[in-house]
Symmetry: C2
Subunit: 288 residues, 2 copies
Amino acid sequence: MMKKVVGIVGLGLIGGSMAKALQQGGKYSVIGYARRLATCEEALACGAVEEAFTDPSEVFKRADILVLALPPDTSGVVFAQEAQHLRQGTLVTDVASTKTNLVAKVYAHLPPGVRFVSVHPMAGSEKGGFDMAKASLFERCTWIVLQDSTVACWRREDIEELSSMGESFGSRVIVLPLAEHDCFLARISHLPHAVASMVTRVAGNDGDGDLRLRLAAGGFRDVTRVAGGNPSMWREILMGNRQELLGALEALESEIRELKDFLRHEDTVGLENYLARAKEIRDKFSAL
Amino acid sequence: MMKKVVGIVGLGLIGGSMAKALQQGGKYSVIGYARRLATCEEALACGAVEEAFTDPSEVFKRADILVLALPPDTSGVVFAQEAQHLRQGTLVTDVASTKTNLVAKVYAHLPPGVRFVSVHPMAGSEKGGFDMAKASLFERCTWIVLQDSTVACWRREDIEELSSMGESFGSRVIVLPLAEHDCFLARISHLPHAVASMVTRVAGNDGDGDLRLRLAAGGFRDVTRVAGGNPSMWREILMGNRQELLGALEALESEIRELKDFLRHEDTVGLENYLARAKEIRDKFSAL
């Protein structure tokens, strides 16, 4: 039996790592699209893909499973342009961090007979690009498969195939309703990212910034690590989920008010209980 | 020549690590105080200290250099009680994360002929206690020596001795005016800590919290790591620096307002510039 062809649109950190992990698994043939010729050559040279193209239409034409792995808005634009090339029976998926806009665009351009199920591998790094891609990126990560009960453009087997793919990468698979994705992600990923950027600016964006940075230690390093991520990719992610992110920022503002009250009133018991509850939650996360 | 005796008051992560690093260096004799007998026995058994006491007065009596290494308020209380036991010519130091209250208390109880210079080793972990102590804790960390031009209870040689101690531990030594310490620390340590606790609560402190935590990944893990720290120690640190921390929290509120404006007005250029500036600062920190 011929292997199914997985076509990966975007060979950055996530797309490149999927290509490497899929090649290692041996179950699929992998082809890929990258805008830059150098990325295509690099992906071919290290055997991550069997064929690579700087024209996405080739990948759209030949994929049995098409993976959109560009930043969310960019994936939407490319999909709208190229969806006409998809064959009947192709399964489309994406790995975007924010779903609302991209999924709406996919549904708007999905040809009849083409299926779609969104996934979100909860893996990444502040250092992006194919250079950083590795087959082990998804090990022990959560791999979210998103089930959309409002449409009929997918089959139970699609959920199973994409779940098996995550399992074969060493991820823990969780199936969630698509409608809940962006709301959850706002609080566990997009708010933390925004906070890292804000705390970095509070520490370093004035005349004393350089001296402060020389004093800063491991706590600062970790709290702000993700602020080193790609600004254009994260702009697409945060802007794409702006309604939910605004809600999460308001929840943070409410926490700040609570904390300021403890400090202003020298409420040591209140402050210690506040910190103790945060530790309790954080320890639960560590134990997962 | 007899070795000078360093007396470490508090054998937690920082005090215990100093004891181990000093023993390894061989320049000083090290004795220590811990409230719990088990900690004293453990420190003796592993050779971190030559003698250990559950009564701080012994350490105050015998130290040539006394290191206050309990949480800041606790160090202040113990110092006020025991300072009468200090010998003339003893150099007192402390390793607290917040200085204003503790230093005022030290000055108020410092006997004539006893000297004081504060230091701050920028090292730590969310996991505290002697069990986590290690001689290498201070390697490649910043070791801040705080010079107070408003008092005459120290000599140039004290700054040099404490600076050499930091260098011998592998730290980068920076000498700063004491008056600037708490203001700097609010933005590089205390605000990041508060933010880690707040983000943890926003993610996990409601009915959907457990599911959210199961989805969370490396970004959330790092942004919130320090929220796992000891609540009572961090309550002393944050409350001790409440004025400066309130200012830092207001700076964060102002960043949040700016970010919300970009999101509300779909200002993609503004948002990307905002994130790009944060990345620029964070990359500068990484390169230090």
